[in-house]
Subunit: 250 residues, 2 copies
Amino acid sequence: MQRYFVSEENLLSDKIVIKGEDVHHIVKVMRMNEGDKIICNVLDGRAAVCQIQSVSDASVVTTVLTWETNYTQLPINVTIAQGLPKGDKLELVLQKGTELGAHEFLPFQAQRSIVKWDSKKMKKKMERYRKIVKEASEQSHRNNVPSILSVASFTELLTYSSKFNHKIVAFEEEARSPHYRKLSEAINQMKPNESILACVGPEGGFSDEEIQSLKKHGFHTVRLGPRILRTETAPLYLLACISYHFEELR
Amino acid sequence: MQRYFVSEENLLSDKIVIKGEDVHHIVKVMRMNEGDKIICNVLDGRAAVCQIQSVSDASVVTTVLTWETNYTQLPINVTIAQGLPKGDKLELVLQKGTELGAHEFLPFQAQRSIVKWDSKKMKKKMERYRKIVKEASEQSHRNNVPSILSVASFTELLTYSSKFNHKIVAFEEEARSPHYRKLSEAINQMKPNESILACVGPEGGFSDEEIQSLKKHGFHTVRLGPRILRTETAPLYLLACISYHFEELR
């Protein structure tokens, strides 16, 4: 069944009114009519099976039939801080990171990031990225849509990190050292509803100064298995392991 | 340090001779010379730090300095059977599946696969796919290169499955059923050095007949977390969880 995200103001007791782009999708793309059913996700996480009452160019009015009880949300809030990578790798992380349950994305300008973003470029990309994340949320049957923060400087990332319960950074050198910190040790300390900031470097990795700064700000270095992962694979490995721990092991 | 895969016939007691494409990479791309060090992976899994003795257009002769003792191989053999997906998704699975430790890839023609392959097309694609997997093995510091089998029919997949210790199929319906089989239950039964065949459907998923056939042939259906994953994300989630279980939890 098709799934749409609607903001709370469109929820009126037992009716949900859909406006904007999704109206076009429902009417012109899916060619739905009165009587057809869809799932509406209200942005605070609740979802309901709804039946279309009426359709116009501007809106689709639906009645709530039943509220869903499926819980598809990762029970811990993971923010992926991604050192800006090249090409369309960030889009891949946003799409698949959303499928895998990420709560929030924080792209940041790492020392070794090859791409540099100006604010004009950022605005256009952000629209595209929000669309990617919304579609991935719908397709993966999430109850909520992860947020994407504006590209931060490394200093802003460090400042932002102070509000998190847990902070980890994927550091490949950890994989080569015989006394590496196991990822499972880090994950075993996390509890449901806590917040995790997981930091991944760009293609060139982190500089020594960046690693020292992160450690000074309470980040724990972890390896992600014994193999070296690409910048865009690392967050997916991390999210999958956190999902496995919280959603498949318990 | 740059890593190259060489076949066993290039290993001569304490010398390793590199021929073919890698010579161009060493000499023209990396601009290496006598005295420079590289890592040579012999195809049976051993790797050595080597020093370049001499360089020519046709070969690079190196001396073995030390054999590596790092073990980067996933201690259980996972074959990813991927229902042929659209576009370049298979390439993504091959590349990242290799980083994540897969032993072997078996693309197969699923009932709902939109793409159909003829043998001429297959030959050209296979060359490209082998290159992708070799490069991903080098970049991720694997000691061996996963194999890619020719595209199989569904019947051939079922026949091939008889040689595996464990057979699982990612089935999203399992995610919606209240009595779902946990992935951890399946993984907990696996032991090091055993073989796993993990089957993933194409974009349209599996047909009911395919699921019935797979179950009849001893496949267990599993869900991969509570969210629905895309065809190309599913094998990555699976490999990450298996890696987490065998390489990070123990």
